[in-house]
């Protein structure tokens, strides 16, 4: 059986109906474990105090904000190459979720930054890049909303997503060039010595896993909604044409 079978809307709907409760349940369990563990059963940082615990929301949502765009890029490429409607609709479905994660990342960052850096906002490269990423999401969502014909909208937004990825990537490095910044380095990385201690890392990994599954849940739900709305549109067009 090929993976492309799930690109058939009917098959996708059938499978996702069965999978959705499990995926959603898993997201709830992982997030509950990760957040409760993180918030109540980890020591306070000697320097940052309890404010450090916002890391369990901040880091996963920031990671997902970028990952969501990558998922949209993959969805767009699949749509342009293989013309699978589900793929285009999944990309469409992921955009508002990605934008929300971007916003959560920015807001939690501001809440964290205020006591740490003494300011809600600084034009630090990471903060700035995320703000710019948010703008890319906005443009993408606006274009989807503005085009009437669904297939044309899918074509146009896919092209935008691909070109936008290049420019978002460029912006990331342009911003680094523009300002070196005060944001700390990556909180988690495999190869460097300097990262958060294990006490924080395990609940953090759980939270990240929880956010990934949460993202999958939301995208599945939204894709199902998009598919249904397309079906309604198709049926209405048919009714108007008197075929039904």
């Amino acid at each position: 059986m090929s993976i492309w079978e799930y690109a058939n809307p009917k098959k996708f709907m059938q499978t996702s109906t069965k999978a959705l409760p499990w995926v959603a349940g898993l997201a709830v369990v992982l997030l509950a474990i990760g957040l409760i563990w993180g918030f109540f059963f980890t020591p306070e940082d000697y320097k940052q105090g309890s404010t450090v615990k916002i890391i369990y929301l901040h880091v996963p949502s920031a990671m997902m904000a970028v990952s969501a765009w990558f998922m949209m890029l993959v969805g767009s490429l699949i749509w342009l190459i293989r013309r699978h409607h589900v793929s285009a609709l999944a990309a469409k479905a992921a955009a508002p979720v990605g934008l929300t994660f971007t916003m959560i990342g920015l807001v939690t960052g501001a809440i964290w930054g205020q006591p740490m850096w003494g300011t809600w906002w600084a034009w630090d490269p990471r903060l700035t890049s995320f703000l710019i990423l948010g703008l890319f999401y906005l443009g993408y969502i606006a274009l989807w909303a503005a085009v009437d014909d669904a297939d044309t909208a899918a074509d146009l937004t896919s092209v935008l997503c691909i070109v936008g990825s290049v420019f978002a990537f460029l912006s990331r490095y342009a911003v680094l060039f523009w300002n070196q910044g005060l944001h700390q380095g990556a909180s988690l990385s495999v190869d460097t010595e300097q990262h958060v201690s294990n006490v924080y890392a395990f609940p953090l990994w759980t939270c990240i896993a929880g956010f990934v599954v949460l993202f999958v849940t939301l995208v599945l739900m939204r894709t199902r909604t998009e598919i249904r709305s397309r079906r309604i549109r198709a049926l209405m067009a048919r009714e108007r044409a008197g075929v039904l």
Partner: protein, 204 residues
């Protein structure tokens, strides 16, 4: 020159015409008829390669086609001659005088397109077809806003084009006064089946 095989075309995700089969050889004139909304424009745009066919095949040399739609693509601030020169240059041609003469635009050559009447604009739009030097003309309601005399001019231009081995597909409601034309009534190809756009098929 043009061959259409079991073609189906769609507009707004709905199949409008299906099972179309026809061919066109040199000096052929095909008139498309049918009520509004039957899909004449959609068919012409599909033949011109502006939109993809839903099913079936159009075999034609795309390099031999030119299209004229509801809008003439005229630039208001350019003169009649400048408008034609542009389209001629785009198609690698240089001569525009015969086309201007054929549509009786000689006296208007230096006038801006903005200052032309609707009928004069249409004549200019039709003159564009003959400066392209292409063999197959696809025309969508070419006689809109033309008076009887201009329809006569258009008929003569079309006939000259056919005499030079050209061909044309014209969607029109009026009689062009060209007895050699074949008429294709599109209402008989109106989509009956429930076959829909690819998306709907996957869905409903």
């Amino acid at each position: 020159m043009l061959h259409v095989d079991d073609l189906a075309v769609s507009r707004g995700g709905l199949t409008v015409l299906e099972g179309l089969c026809f061919g066109l050889v040199a000096a052929d004139l095909l008139i498309l008829r049918g009520p509004n909304g039957v899909g004449k424009t959609t068919l012409l745009r599909t033949l011109a390669g502006l939109q993809p066919a839903l099913a079936g095949r159009v075999s034609v040399d795309q390099e031999q086609i030119t299209y004229s739609g509801h809008a003439d693509g005229l630039k208001a601030t350019l003169t009649v001659a400048e408008n034609l020169q542009f389209w001629a240059a785009v198609h690698g041609q240089t001569v525009i005088d015969p086309a201007i003469a054929a549509m009786n635009l000689t006296a208007l050559q230096t006038r801006r397109a903005a200052d032309l009447s609707a009928g004069q604009k249409r004549r200019l739009g039709l003159a564009r077809l003959s400066v392209t030097g292409r063999k197959i003309w696809l025309m969508d309601e070419p006689t809109v806003s033309l008076d009887a005399a201009s329809v006569g001019l258009f008929g003569a231009m079309l006939r000259a084009h056919l005499a030079q081995g050209g061909a044309a597909v014209v969607a029109t409601h009026i009689d062009l006064g060209l007895p050699e034309a074949r008429v294709l009534d599109l209402s008989q190809f109106k989509a009956k089946s429930k076959r829909q756009g690819a998306f709907d098929e996957a869905f409903a």
